[in-house]
């Protein structure tokens, strides 16, 4: 099975439908009698609603239904809740804001939904929405962390006196203080990690249906985790049993965390479908997406690193403040907590003093995005290392080398959150140094200099924690003809599961991938699953498939023994065929399946059928890691940066499909480069109005902005799952932010520039160069 088993660079089986225009995304589903929903949103960042006038909208042509926040309140709907609960500065449980599907009294960010209009066409719904009159009393608003924490700042929630929702201390303050007291040098940095949009190219979309006979809803929607979406809407919003709602997520055009959890619109289409007795569709426009899609990152970090005279890390202190936006989403708070362990990096530092606070602002709520806290934490440690290296006049790669956890020390307890169970950081480091020809950099810099250009090189060795949600269920079933179907509760929207999951089963059972059918993305058809996120799918669903395949083999042996009239211990299984050494007879899996479905032949004690479903729970998270090197050239006259080289030596454990794994890594790096160089969500400081409301203002990286990227995988198997895999979806993004910014800062250092905030736009770089020049002159 080498041709398409584990490790084969198999081109994807799902591709043919996408490259021929036959993909089936939610907006492509034909449906008769369809009505269209438009959402009326707050134009103010903070306002009191004094009243609604919907009469003109109701009378507009084609309008079927108008519902406001008052109607939602009358229905008694619940609200969305955070998965995580922490405490405030007083040690009390943090305030959990009511997060409803439509607001009736107050709005708290520009885009907050207050009403919906349903009509016979999308155009009529849009026209109708323009006629909904909402009487607002505008209130002062805040958009950034510093404004939120300022004395006398306007309050997002009256229940939270200084806008601070959460304050928690982690690590060991005393030990860290003692370590700092021994330090020969303390490097200090203050970093703003910008707010970004997931910006999947397919906008969010949902179609709601209601069956009055069954009293049951069906939601077709672009979501990453159909069961999670079902549970949130059923239990939190509608307060109905989960079996009263079916969620179907067909092809999904990218998600990156942004389609992981319910936004209000998905409950709204279902409610609207019930109210007007027709299927109701909502398709988000891009302009609306920038307002209303939950956003990501956005925090401030003060970081200090203590070193001894030889550059040995002694301790690190972090003060991290998160901007939560106006509400607590399902996973917003997690971004500040789940990944703090990454602060130890791949280094032997053991003393951490971490303080985290999270504040409300009048901005779009925050949710997880690819990396979800790990890019931020990795940026903190990898950027402060470069600052320390510059201040101590040590080569930044050499400084990292001096502090690397030795391969011989694995498993290694970092002393703060994580014990790394596998990894070869020395090899990863050496490989990256060779790939990037780090030693040859001074010569390349001199050549750039001769052409009037600034050249810089930056390294970041990222380590992250993947597959934190540790359970998943998978099924392998044979039909009476002997054909195979595999069923999983994860969802593939770019991750290539339709190919890689089949490769796993192909390796185990000797069945060609193209001969298997795969089912996912439907809560009625799949076992309960946690969906796709946190780089978990291959670790947990892949492992569940391995376990199911093992059980298929075990049951197959029992049946084969009966069929071939030998002892079970005489049966061997290889490449899809059961054979007995005793008589040299054999039967393949399809033959077993046919036999197993024949109740007349099957012995009673074995029962009929040939299918296995396994709920797998992993022993723990895994630690994908990678050493990134980025090289840039900057034109000092314009401030423009070109990335002239990017190398990654990564360890994501056993590679199931190298094409796919490299594809994930390159895509992740591209998103990191986007945040480092050009992307940023910006709100006006006074009005908290969104200023980056389209792809004309929000700078998505284009083909010419991105470099060729060279990747080498070194496979250090994870010990705690049967495949030996580590998460491959997020790991590469995690290191890209600091690698790029370190390279830019390295290029600018000779001019006296110490740090550049992301995004390092030409304007920002040019300004920094000018400032440094003026400072030198003065």
């Amino acid at each position: 099975m080498d041709e398409f088993g584990i490790g084969a660079p198999l081109p994807r089986l799902e591709d043919v439908r996408f490259i021929t225009g036959r993909g089936r995304y939610t907006d492509d589903i034909p449906m008769s009698g369809l009505a269209f929903m438009e959402v009326v949103r707050s134009p103010y960042a903070s306002a009191r609603i004094k009243g609604f006038d919907i009469s003109a909208a109701q009378a507009a042509p084609g309008v079927l239904l108008v519902l406001t926040g008052e109607d939602a309140r009358a229905e008694g709907f619940g609200g969305y809740t955070s998965k995580m609960r922490k405490t405030n500065r007083q040690g009390e449980p943090n305030f959990e804001p009511p997060f409803r599907i439509l607001e009736a009294e107050r709005v708290r960010f520009v885009g907050d939904p207050v009403a919906i209009v349903v009509a016979t066409s999308a155009e009529a719904a849009r026209d109708g929405a323009d006629l909904v009159l909402v009487d607002y009393e505008e209130l002062p608003a805040i958009s950034d962390i510093k404004a939120a924490l300022a004395k006398g700042a306007p309050l997002v929630w009256d229940e939270v006196p200084n806008n601070e929702c959460v304050f928690v201390e982690l690590g060991d303050r005393k030990a860290t203080a003692a370590a700092f007291a021994q330090a020969a040098h303390v490097a200090k940095g203050e970093f703003a990690i910008s707010r970004v949009a997931h910006a999947s190219i397919e906008p969010r979309v949902g179609i709601g249906l209601y069956d009055p006979v069954e009293d049951r809803y069906t939601l077709h929607a672009a979501v990453q985790a159909p069961h999670t979406t079902r549970n949130e809407i059923a239990t939190r919003i509608f307060r109905i049993p989960e079996n009263k709602l079916r969620v179907i997520s067909p092809d999904v055009g990218g998600a990156f965390g942004g389609k992981g959890y319910s936004h209000p619109e998905l409950a709204l289409v279902l409610w609207a479908a019930r109210k007007c007795d027709r299927p109701v569709k909502w398709v988000c426009t891009r302009s609306e997406a920038f307002l209303a899609d939950f956003q990501a990152r956005d925090n401030l970090a003060q970081v200090e690193l203590a070193l001894d005279a030889n550059g040995k890390f002694l301790g690190v202190k972090v003060k991290n403040v998160l901007n939560l936006g106006a509400y607590l989403t399902n996973a917003g708070l997690q971004c500040g907590f789940h990944h703090v362990g990454s602060i130890c990096g791949v280094y032997t530092n053991r003393n951490v003093d971490w303080e985290v606070s999270a504040v409300f602002t009048n901005t779009t709520p925050i949710i997880a995005m690819r990396g979800a806290g790990r890019p931020e934490t990795t940026f903190m440690i990898e950027r402060i290392i470069d600052i320390a290296a510059a201040e101590m006049s040590i080569d930044p790669a050499e400084l990292r080398r001096r502090n690397l956890i030795p391969t011989a020390a694995i498993p290694y307890d970092t002393g703060f959150v994580h014990t790394y169970d596998s990894g070869d950081f020395e090899k990863g480091f050496d490989t990256a140094m060779r790939m990037a020809d780090w030693a040859g950099f001074p010569e390349r810099r001199a050549r750039s200099q001769a052409r009037g250009k600034l050249r810089g090189i930056g390294m970041a060795y990222a380590i992250e924690s993947a597959a934190g949600v540790r359970d998943e269920t998978a099924e392998i079933r044979f039909d009476t003809s002997g054909a195979v179907t595999i069923v999983v509760g994860t969802h593939s929207h770019g991750q290539s599961h339709e190919t890689t999951f089949r490769q796993v089963v192909a390796s185990m059972l000797g069945i060609a991938p193209k001969d298997m059918r795969m089912i996912y993305g439907d809560t009625d058809l799949t076992p309960f699953g946690r969906g796709t996120g946190a780089s978990r799918s291959m670790t947990v669903a892949g492992s569940a498939l391995v376990c199911a395949a093992e059980r298929i083999i075990a049951r197959g042996k029992q049946i084969a023994a009966h069929m071939l009239e030998v002892e079970e211990s005489d049966i061997a299984f290889d490449a899809g065929v059961f054979t007995t050494r005793a008589t040299n007879r054999s039967v393949d899996l399809a033959g077993i399946a046919r036999f197993a479905h024949d109740f007349r032949q099957m012995p009673a004690h074995l029962g009929v059928g040939f299918a296995e479903r396994v709920a797998f729970v992993s022993d723990g998270i895994n630690f994908p890691n990678g050493c990134h090197v980025c090289e840039v050239e900057i034109d000092p006259a314009t401030g423009e940066t070109s990335i002239v080289g990017y190398w990654l030596s990564e360890d994501v454990g056993v590679v199931i499909n190298p094409l796919v794994v490299k594809g994930q890594a390159v895509g992740g790096i591209a998103q990191g480069i986007g945040q480092a160089l050009c992307e940023k969500i910006v709100f006006d400081g006074e009005s908290a109005q969104l200023l980056t409301g389209s792809f004309m203002d929000y700078c998505m990286p284009r083909a010419k902005d991105l470099p060729a990227i060279e990747i080498k995988s070194q496979e250090v198997p994870a010990p705690n799952n049967p495949l030996g895999v580590k998460g491959a979806g997020e790991s590469a993004l995690v290191g890209a932010l600091p690698a790029v910014i370190n390279a830019i800062c390295d290029a600018l250092r000779p001019l006296g520039v110490k740090h550049i905030e992301m995004p390092a736009t030409p304007a920002r770089i040019w300004e920094a160069i000018e400032q440094a020049r003026r400072a030198k002159a003065a």
Binding site: S200, G667, A670
Partner: protein, 152 residues
């Protein structure tokens, strides 16, 4: 309402549409050619790229009525399973797609690039992909696929 007629993927079509109906919505909703996608509302993303009289055009930038009498090819008209266009085959071979949403537009743009450049270098391809956004791949394999299609 306006009456429009055009030739789409080799077939003559005629329909009455609202004046404000965009070409992309006409293709998707009236003709059910849902391979052409909508990813933005400012003509930035290129997911709606089609061929109009042989040239790549963003079908969200024009009204259906403006295409009256024109010849249109969408992704569905480029090739089909078992009979793929060399650009489609190259996209699969080089893993140039992940979620697949930008892909039809990328393939239509790629074919148009090769119409105008016989054997474009990497820089030309990157420059020419200016009008198409991909959030998944980082473009590396898209560039590779277009280059490979040029060489095939």
């Amino acid at each position: 309402m306006t009456s429009v007629s055009m030739r789409v993927n080799g077939a003559d079509v005629r329909a009455d549409v609202e004046d404000r109906t965009l070409l992309v919505h006409f293709l998707r909703e009236h003709l059910r050619l849902t391979g052409t996608h909508v990813g933005c509302d400012t003509s930035q993303c290129g997911a709606c790229t089609i061929h109009l009289n042989g040239e790549a055009v963003k079908s969200c930038t024009m009204f259906a009525a403006q295409a009256d009498g024109d010849e249109i090819v969408t992704i569905e008209g480029v090739g089909e399973p078992g009979r793929l266009h060399s650009m489609q085959a190259a996209f699969q071979q080089h893993h140039a797609l992940q979620c697949g949403f930008c892909t039809p537009g990328m393939i239509m743009a790629g074919i148009d690039i090769l119409r105008r450049h016989k054997s474009p270098d990497e820089e030309t391809i990157r420059e020419e992909l200016e009008g198409n956004l991909c959030r998944c791949t980082g473009y590396v394999n898209i560039v590779k696929a277009i280059k490979a299609a040029a060489e095939s």
